[in-house]
Amino acid sequence: MSETKKETAISVRDLSKSFGHVHANTHVTMDLYKGEILALLGENGSGKTTLMNMLAGIYYPDEGQIFVNGKEVSIRSPKDAFNNGIGMVHQHFKLIDVLTAAENIILGEEGKLDIKSACAKIREICDKYGFDVDPNKKIFNMSVSEKQTVEIVKVLYRGADILILDEPTAVLTPQETEKLFAVMRNMRSDGKAIIIITHKLNEVKEISDRVAILRQGEYIGDMITANTNAQEMTNMMVGRQVVLNIERPQPLEAPKKRLVVEGVTVVDEEGVTKLKDISFDVESGQILGIAGISGCGQKELLEAIAGLQPVQSGSIRYINDDGTQEELIGMDPQKITQMGVALSFVPEDRLGMGLVGNMDLAENMMLRSFRDNNTPFTDRKKPHDLAEKIVDTLDVKTPGIDTPVRKLSGGNVQKVLVGREIANSPSVLMTAYAVRGLDINSSYTIYDLINMQKIKGVAVIFVGEDLDVLLQISDRILVLCDGQVSGIIDGKTADKNTVGMMMTKLGGEDKNED
């Protein structure tokens, strides 16, 4: 495709891999050149990560060949990958919490243990590319972006010439992403070949030289980034025309106050202040977006409202239609339901909190309804019917109602969870990272569901990470910064940079809209 003669770093030919009956990759043929950044695009389940894992030695291909620098190799283990100069930064960091950064970086090397000289070498790498890492810090004391830096330094320390980054920006702020991209450009000019997996098309445009696209495990094709656009890339990923637009509909009835949060402060068991003096309100028929760097208090805030997080001070009041108020602090989820407050919560951790992975669809429906009768026995009929209804209306792809939900794909799991949470007609709906890891189609299904609730008059709290989405869907956006409210701005007029600044600095810069 490229006219200039470039040396190939990796070539894969006819690579296939299946898990049981699922064909994750079928006959993928692809090239990566030295000194380029290749963006690998594809919907969830299109086999990007599987393909990369085969290069990194995590999976072994069922068939096909891999060439590194023109020579055929067999990558049977991560060690083989290292020996071939391939290093991968996984989406879920492969770091050991109780060890220090340096210990993690030298893990797997041979020879005598010499932490001191390792630290020196780490500092050298940091200086060369512009990283900032304390080699003696334990991982469990690190922020997400620090952990990611350790991961990249680890790969470089091993002398990798080919870097694979699996969704590296998913957990970063716009500013941190910029920093990462600068480092990546440094590495490119150093002659390294880089593959980046990402869902964010604007980032593809910004960082990559070339885009390769996978769909349903097959290699669809590649394009020079400069010659393509978001719409074309999306169409290739999905395989048909997709409209990239989130609506912002109007509710049927005029909004009124539904939930008032005043001066809420949360201190966790270790004495760390997670939320400090948070105040805001939520109106019916409106979507309140919550933006912020991951881990700056979103989880605690939602859990405090849901009655799962002890609150040190402040008040959270629910306002009924007739104007009477109920205090939610000090209540547990069961009491909140008994008080007649219809609060639904789609938590971030779908299979670890919202659903039980090993239970089937019907049993997962029961989680919300199993107490609904006065006998000591559970009613199995209603949850079963509800599960069938959700499968039908939301088009959940599942072999049956009695399939454990952990076997479903991410998008289908989320449909089941959201379906259950909106089934008992909530008046407040909270969602945390509702579309994380979902492909474009499923994401839009979820946005539609949330908007439909809004039209019905539900007060929605939408915690998100993709600022473009937050700006499109929210009526107002509350920006959290380090457990405090950095500001609340109007979703229709806000711009991304302002929000990004507010996420990293209380109140953002001088210009504060609203």
Partner: protein, 367 residues
Amino acid sequence: MKTNNKEPLFHVVRRDDMSRKKAWTIRGIALVAALIVCALITTALTGDNPLSVYATIVSGAFGSNRKTWVTFQNLSVLLIISLALTPAFRMKFWNCGGEGQVLIGGLASAATMILLDGKLPNVLVIIIMITSSILAGAIWGLIPALFKAIWNTNETLSTLMMNYIATQLVAFYTVVWENPKGSGKIGIINQNSCVGWLPEIGNKYFLSVLVAIVITVILYIYLYYGKHGYEVCVVGESERTARYVGIKVEKVIIRTMVLSGALCGVAGLLLVGGINHTITTTIAGGQGFTAIMVAWLAKFNPITMIFTSFLIIFLDRGAGEIATVFELNKSFSDIITGIILFFIIGCEFFISYKVVFNSKNAKEERK
């Protein structure tokens, strides 16, 4: 740089769900393989031919009317203990304290029999016995549950320690109630008055069988159709999900362990009040541990547990018979049980995974 072009000989992949029938076939094959190995070992040790080894096993379990009934009685006791551990295991609470909970239940029965002999009518004594042994077992389950619920103390070890504390308590009372003095044991309690002996139904074996049947049915309904059973499952799968839907995790842990201990107490009651009419430190005979394996083999399903406990008891009785007939040591049955367990534990691998051999030829053919 070291590159290796050889492919690995084989690799292992996870299977899709296997049909139930096929899975049980694999388990059956493993069992048969285990039986063959055991027969070979027995033949090596005794010189008898393998077929007659099997015959001896069968006659050990069902050789006479009495033997058959004893087999069923032992089966019932083991089944009750396994059932008792089941709710805890479904909650992923590794109750290794069945032994102690059975012992302490038995001790409560023995205490009632000894202390109330001649002071209250037999019916009352029996009622107090039943209550006290259930209560004692429940308390023995409650203590580690409290530790777990409040401080998240490792339950495997705390329940293990509770076993030995129970054993020493029984040892203590064995000295206190020694009868006759100097014998170092308690002997048959109330041999003449029979106060506190649980009534016989039909014959002296059937009571345990009946209790086991009742508990199996009730526990099955409790676990599979009850709200409590559902809560136990949710807590076992994910405590965070449980809290998210408003289940009080601590309450469920405590309630379930009290139930688990109480059912063990029933087993102790049967052992002391119905079967042995005495108590020793070894009256539970390691069944608290065997029950863990029985429950696990049955995938914590009460109905399947009938078959797994039958398997263990059948082998135990059979191996015991072999030991008697060929004058081998009684521990022979432990070895046989161990080997069979290894096979059954190992065969689960072939149900969840399959081994794929990589050969160049196979690949050529596919192309």
